[in-house]
Symmetry: C2
Subunit: 338 residues, 2 copies
């Protein structure tokens, strides 16, 4: 009779911190590169086109001795019934025996693990002395990206927030976002000295940035190649399905382009359009191969680098594994007989 | 915050009875035929060839307002560590909202739902006045098949148990198997008057049967076409992966051949070899289409009929759905916040 640990959203909010997320996501990239992690075919089902769908992503991580899956469903009309439109549920198993181990509400994992991805992209590819960070987009993902990047790159002194489609919104959201960033840093005992302000002029902000994070739902490039200074790093997060694009294809043409998973980047990521247009022939390397030293990253101070983060199942699995280990240590969650 | 019901193996043993299994499996076949149930692509991963693997089967059932998945892992060496070699875990969701609803230990579901499949095959295709049932194979599945068929076909008066590879085993297992059959019938309030005895001569038993159920791990046909009398029905359960075969290809050549899922029957079921040999060109129909009246079943008393039961994800999903409904009614299981 197996015993399964059930971890609710509030359990996970207590357990999962920025530093854990950064470590977990880096580990996922590393095990993808070494082959110790594998991703299995995704199941996708659309109940009603554009209204309700789901996917099941699964895989395993050898070092954590775990395999598992995450079901994410999206129901556009849930809001009408007072329900969240997204549900994420993860199920974990012991990789040595097949025994079920844990059921997790994956909702609160997404923000941190996605923030961590953008931040690791910056740590691996940006200039090490980078001081100026520009966050493009001020949606739910932005505080996680800012906090994780501040955590991963202590050299950052200045953060700008820009929302191109509605510039006033960045100013409106500033106080709330700032509090969330501080709480995330505080949650892992990190203190950073930086300024955070809204930027209304995207062109000026881009010209004045070392690192640019993009997390918008854009289908048209917002950042143009003339604005981009040598040495700039981009972590592009927003393009997670076909036809989305956040930055000019020509920027990728000038840049060293990296990503989390080559196939996914070229088919649904920021690389999709530049690849179709023949501006790039593929990735220079996957980030995991740069982390493990199989491939080179940035070569000189003036290189422009792009990290296309499309999101891979191993990020969730690795995050779930560290959450479960922490929950076992602190004895948090509900234990149920199965 | 979703609330999830956790149903353990012992909860399910209390909840799930033969009559529920027969109803659930028939319902799965019906919804496959009407298109109200859909099966999504299976994920299969082999950790070590012939030593450890898993599959993830998923799908939805409109009438039950449910979607879900079942993970089955098999670790051949688990026995050494005092663990079961198979773990089955099901996760169910609300099909209207995507909300997670229940986590079930699917282990105790398998016996009943597989027994129910063989029994429904008999009820749909065998002669309605069938009195003599032969069970070939005396493994874990046999009491479920016998009990479900006695339940579904009250005309049966005589049950024979034959184990071709080791005929003495049928005699040895008889008492234990008989007790299990009685307990399964008793569990749903059914009483049947029948005899149950071991048969050592397979040929004689086949010649003397109206209905034959096969559930063995055989890779070579055990039942030969010369033995088979007009009017006989076969429900073949054992062939669940490529290269398995329980009855002569020529029997299928003489018979009206039905199955649960045409693609699966022709690729991994009892139909695989006869199909490859050109003895049959395909199924006459899927059982669901016969149940819904879209296709014809048996046409005359002298027809030989074969039902190839390979097992489909909707059987598990439909079973899990009725178990969950019963658990909610009786308030059985552990409720956890997710």
């Amino acid at each position: 009779m197996a015993k399964v640990r059930i971890l609710s959203a509030s359990d996970i909010e207590k357990l999962f911190t920025l530093d854990m997320a950064v470590k977990a996501v880096e580990n996922a990239y590393r095990q993808k590169s070494t082959g110790e992690g594998s991703v299995w075919p995704m199941v996708f089902h659309e109940f009603v086109h554009g209204e309700a769908d789901l996917d099941i992503k699964s895989g395993d991580l050898k070092c954590e001795n775990i395999f598992g899956l995450k079901v994410v469903s999206w129901y556009g009309s849930n809001e009408k019934h007072g329900l969240p439109d997204l549900f994420g549920t993860s199920l974990l198993f012991d990789r040595e025996t097949g025994e079920p181990k844990a059921l997790l509400n994956a909702g609160p994992v997404t923000g941190l693990r996605t923030g961590a991805a953008g931040a690791i992209g910056a740590r691996v590819f940006a200039r090490q002395n980078s001081e100026k960070l520009l966050m493009v987009g001020c949606g739910a993902q932005s505080p996680y990206l800012i906090a994780a990047t501040l955590f991963a790159m202590p050299s950052i002194r200045q953060v700008m927030l820009c929302n191109p489609r509605n510039p006033a919104k960045a100013e409106e959201k500033l106080a709330c976002l700032s509090a969330k960033v501080e709480s995330l840093l505080h949650g892992c005992g990190a203190e950073r000295a930086y300024t955070l302000e809204a930027a209304t002029d995207l062109e000026a902000a881009v010209k004045n940035s070392d690192i640019i994070l993009t997390a918008t739902p854009s289908y048209e490039p917002m950042i143009h190649t003339e604005w981009v200074q040598p040495g700039t790093h981009f972590s592009c997060i927003g393009s997670d399905m076909t036809c989305k694009q956040e930055i000019d294809s020509d920027i990728l043409g000038r840049a060293l382009v990296f990503g989390d998973d080559e196939n996914q980047c070229l088919s649904v990521g920021e690389c999709e359009k530049p690849y179709q247009q023949g501006v790039i022939a593929g990735l220079k390397a996957e980030i995991g191969d740069v982390i493990t030293g199989k491939a080179e990253g940035r070569q000189k101070e003036t290189d422009i680098t792009v990290f296309d983060s499309t999101g891979i199942a191993l990020q969730d699995l690795s995050s779930a594994a560290v959450i479960l280990a922490e929950a076992e240590k602190k004895n948090i969650g509900t234990i149920a007989e199965l």
